[in-house]
């Protein structure tokens, strides 16, 4: 349970990181909060020759208001996001999700960018970004590019970011007037990775939902946007009938799997239950 030996570098600019990444190729790994990387190194599931600690890159830190969107530096810690007024006012879905991510000591170190780069299928933030159409900013030797969340998470632990690239920021459109968000997950123990979870976002007019987004996590290799359930609900009032239609559509949207924690059948059951809760929460009058 000790990591294999490695060398350590702590660069102070993105350019230096990119230089090291191109020199060392897949022998190098970026270390952000370390809350996912160090466990895998301790278990010797990964054994990089060089660990590039990006915690010295101060300009990757912090949350800023960019007019119609928020920009979150990749190194911003979970705890800062959890307590941010800007996030709470303009991206409340993220604020709702934060307490479910691990435990306080882990949120003190773990970073937004690390969570997104890791792309754990049971992680909350990737699904939230899919629900909100967040964009991931990736910097490489050829410059800066942005990828929308639904195209960023490709397969299990596979993202659109290449070996020689670094995530520098995440951008989230501010919530528009009339929209609401809701979030829930089922886990064995508070803070554990979920057995099934959902991020929901919609325009709410009395009890009628439109432009609905339902993004599931922990039910597939990547976040799953439940397009059939979303269209089943589009423009409808939330009642027993529309909830049932949305739940039934999940059979087409999701292909849950069995694992140690939960069977595929139970996962589907949870997904339907969470859908009901989210639709009810979204439409509940204040």
């Amino acid at each position: 349970m000790k990591p294999a030996a490695f060398n350590y570098a702590k660069p102070s600019s993105v350019e230096e990181v990119l230089g090291l990444l191109s020199e060392y190729g897949d022998e190098a790994t970026i270390l952000a909060g370390g809350q996912s990387l160090i466990p895998t190194m301790n278990m010797r599931l990964s054994a990089p020759a060089l660990v590039i600690d990006i915690n010295g890159l101060d300009n990757l830190n912090g949350i800023s208001d960019e007019g119609d969107r928020l920009r979150i530096g990749a190194l911003t810690r979970h705890v800062e996001i959890e307590n941010s007024e800007l996030i709470a006012s303009h991206a409340p879905l993220i604020t709702l999700a934060m307490p479910s991510i691990a435990h306080p000591a882990i949120r003190n170190r773990g970073t937004f960018g690390g969570s997104v780069a890791m792309a754990d299928p049971a992680a909350e933030l990737p699904a939230c970004l899919c629900a909100l159409d967040g964009e991931i900013e990736i910097t490489g030797q050829n410059g800066v590019r942005k990828v929308v969340a639904k195209d960023f998470f490709k397969e299990l632990y596979e993202t659109d970011a290449g070996d020689g690239e670094i995530l520098t920021a995440i951008e989230i459109p501010k919530i528009s007037a009339g929209y609401r968000s809701a979030f829930d997950e089922l886990a064995r123990r508070h803070g554990d990775y979920a057995m099934c979870g959902i991020a929901a976002h919609a325009k709410v007019d009395r009890d009628v939902l439109s432009d609905l987004r339902l993004a599931f996590f922990a039910v597939g290799g990547t976040p799953v946007i439940a397009t059939q359930a979303m269209s089943a609900m589009e423009g409808k009032s939330v009642d027993d009938e529309s909830i049932f239609a949305a739940q039934s559509a999940l059979e087409d949207d999701l292909e849950p799997f069995d694992d140690l924690h939960c069977s595929a059948t139970l996962r589907m059951h949870y997904a339907k239950e969470l859908t009901k809760r989210m639709l009810t929460t979204l439409s509940a009058r204040n």
């Binding site: 294999a4 370390g34 466990p39 301790n42 660990v51 000591a105 003190n108 170190r109």
Partner: protein
């Protein structure tokens, strides 16, 4: 590229004392504290972030000592259970843990105390539910948690009254 591992000089403050060492990058903070500084109050359970036995404070915030490299604490300030205990500021917590039977084998206790210190600093009047939530990352295999929640609730109330 070479396989030779370069040792890194670090200088940090641990429990108010300055420490300088030459260390291997792979050394975790908790191994550094235990093996290099003989501060064995921070325990090692799982080494992958799940149990919370290794909880220490770095630059004012609690972290997993097993999920931070010692080199990452370079230039920083670390407080362990030894420092917290010697400072006297958790006397009431230690007493309440003792009186309420909130420890049996004691393996989890240093981590519980470090986590509780942060809980009460950020939320001086937590509900039992909030206490459980905050401690969700700290495993105890003996007490069943109820007594731990009792002890923390007692201290929160005492401090409020004081």
């Amino acid at each position: 590229m070479t396989n030779e591992i370069e040792q890194i000089p670090v200088a940090l403050t641990v429990n108010g004392e300055k420490v300088s060492k030459l260390i291997e990058p792979r050394l975790s903070l908790v191994d550094f504290l235990r093996n290099e500084l003989e501060l064995t109050g921070s325990h090692i359970g799982c080494e992958h972030g799940v149990c919370g036995a290794c909880t220490v404070r770095v630059n004012g915030e609690i972290v997993r000592g097993c999920l931070m490299l010692a080199v990452q604490a370079n230039g920083g300030e670390v407080e362990t259970i030894e420092g917290a205990s010697d400072s006297g500021k958790i006397d009431d917590l230690q007493k309440a843990f003792h009186e309420r039977n909130a420890l049996q084998c004691g393996f989890c206790t240093p981590g519980m105390l470090m986590t509780t210190t942060e809980l009460l600093a950020t939320n001086p009047d937590p509900s039992r539910e909030e206490i459980r939530e905050y401690l969700s990352g700290n495993y105890c295999r003996c007490t069943g948690y109820e007594a731990i929640v009792d002890a923390i609730e007692t201290v929160a109330q005492e401090r409020k009254g004081a």
